[in-house]
Symmetry: C2
Subunit: 343 residues, 2 copies
Amino acid sequence: MLALAGLPLGLEFVFFTDRDDDCGSALGDTIIAPYTDEPALLDVASRCDAITFEFENVPAGSVRFLAERVPVRPGPSLLEVAQDRIDEKRMLVDAGVATPAFAAVDSIESLHAAVDKVGLPAVIKTRRFGYDGKGQRVLRSADEIDSAWEELGSYPLIAEALVPFVRELSVIAVRSAAGETRVYPLAENHHSGGILRTSIVPAPNLDAEVRAEAHAIAERIMERHDYVGVLTVELFEFVDDRAAGPRLMANEIAPRVHNSGHWSLDGAVTSQFENHVRAVAGLPLGDCSARCACVMENVIGEPPDVRAVLAEPNAKLHMYGKSPREGRKLGHITRLGLELPAP
Amino acid sequence: MLALAGLPLGLEFVFFTDRDDDCGSALGDTIIAPYTDEPALLDVASRCDAITFEFENVPAGSVRFLAERVPVRPGPSLLEVAQDRIDEKRMLVDAGVATPAFAAVDSIESLHAAVDKVGLPAVIKTRRFGYDGKGQRVLRSADEIDSAWEELGSYPLIAEALVPFVRELSVIAVRSAAGETRVYPLAENHHSGGILRTSIVPAPNLDAEVRAEAHAIAERIMERHDYVGVLTVELFEFVDDRAAGPRLMANEIAPRVHNSGHWSLDGAVTSQFENHVRAVAGLPLGDCSARCACVMENVIGEPPDVRAVLAEPNAKLHMYGKSPREGRKLGHITRLGLELPAP
């Protein structure tokens, strides 16, 4: 989708993948090798004016190796941070962003101590390589600590307070190589089974101060890390009955385009994919405004009834060409509203 | 662009081309052979559930051969008609559509007779294979007849009255396999040197009766030919100071998506490419409404200043990956208006 957004801008793409069935490879030359293969990395570096990555589980060392030779946007620092939930939370705290209480866990003793610290209910997650709710477990009582340790204890873990938020939001922002920042309308996200099901954009009934807080969070993180490209911050929103203080906590970041921004393909003047590519290529950013209200629904596990979807007057279907598998994101449907709700 | 519109609908594509550098080939299997190669045609037929073509200068005999084996949409009849300007004009007349006066020319004598019939100024065109103003010459006086014959007389020709129209419009319509018809907002088209430069959509200050007349023309042609897919009719609009009668004349048809519909990629709920693919695949049609007013400008001959275009807040750039050449369409820019003008 990044290449599809960049080709019409006159850009050319070289793909580097460790899988020989990679779907992007039809849109440009493809280098297939392990991500740590140094000759392949040198080949990539020699053929590109700028480099980006489309998921965050690429080896940070390889990204650093590339970044010494050619601009890698975003750079390796926030990528590395985003690969470890403890580093990520510490980065947020350092940036002055509120987060749920958290503690690192590397033994059954530290798990007990962590639960004491963050309270119950808590959620235990692997520090690395989790996605779509994989490698996570909710603890509702101290009785469950031992079985949680048995299940997940072979990995470095994080314990986080399960905070009583009202809803989950995400803010997607983009920063250009020249340092300009733009922010998409916030999304309200609904998950089920740990997987994003639906995003509503713009998030309905959003207080202006909460919106401003979300913008400030994204901008603060990007400025501190001289970030270039699209950054996503998943946020928890709280009702305004706490003591004066932030209404948002950050859950996690993604140093890339994000599923909750897929609405922008049909609903924004400039999609998140195009804006990421513009930023990486050192081009001016595009307008992040929504052209209409959108509801994005993921197609998960099973193919949709294509005929029924296309018969809806305002539905835009995006299938990814993946074979069906339980829990797999096969595509998404964006339903376009007729007009934006009043701000 | 047809494949790019169809892949997200879950469709798969096989390309048949006689050029080994064809740009669409990256998006699906490609069969490269002369268009008249019978084994290749049989291979194509065996691998497709439905077939379409993206330009009209494919051999009609090959299309007929395919159509005996698998649905070809649109079918060969209107394709064949569109390949010959005389057949095209006769088809329009048969469908009750007004056209400029015309006459077939195959000798210097018939050229003189044709100019007598259609009057001066007249335009002389090759009957076949003309595009972007190639193979055309305007005659303003009888003195120019002999030199026009010297220039073009080795081809079968048509002489047409050069009618004093107010502006050129185009109507793009789509008809589904189930016989449903939808029509895009009309475009006002501006040419220079025989090449489309700019389309403004919706055509400003369009009388409702002219719009209805354009819709009726497109629908009448599609119904008579049991047409499936996108059809374009280029129209001349006249001011309302003639005797009561049609305000539109048809200039030519294109049995395919059309340059004056490229705005629909960014400006319509469903692009002309997606709707053509939907029709060919037997799927329901999408909404043809404009989401905003659009001005589409072709990028011709030389690459644009990409940075300057992208710095415009409402400009969408679409480069086609073609190398620059004088008069060649290298891409287009669609500028999105903030809102639709009042109807």
